[in-house]
Symmetry: C2
Subunit: 82 residues, 2 copies
């Protein structure tokens, strides 16, 4: 995966998940240091409709598998404690 | 919430999510340092059928709201980086 491409693609995610992957809003998960495979399956769950959320579903809808892999690799690369 | 009660109730969770809340298995999320409200809503999603998973659904099925609050508080209290 391409972490730099993931970081660029994830710019919009920072609004809720924090610039360092530690969420600003208590309802939204921290993503920093999360497992890559779990991040990928979660993003795809929103993209493919397995999980439904008024914010995440549209966010994920346009992503290619490569985008998902890059975004997941980026957040997984951030230190878990923020 | 009662973190000690949550720790006791979460003993079974360690098998997949790790004794320190950092998952051993790449498919399963780290829970350490996660947001309390997100942990609560996720556990309830499995308990109440919004999320379906062959392992997590039965795991969550018997939990009371107090159990959920305690378990969530416990994992949120663990250091995010493990």
């Amino acid at each position: 995966a391409d972490i730099a491409a993931g970081k660029a693609k994830a710019a919009v995610c920072a609004a809720c998940h924090g610039a360092n992957g530690i969420s600003i809003i208590p309802d939204y998960p921290n993503l920093a240091g999360q497992k890559v495979k779990y991040l990928e399956s979660s993003i795809k769950a929103y993209r493919d409709g397995e999980r439904k959320n008024p914010i995440m579903s549209p966010m994920a809808s346009g992503l290619t598998d490569a985008d998902v892999a890059n975004i997941a690799a980026y957040f997984a690369s951030l230190p878990g404690g923020g």
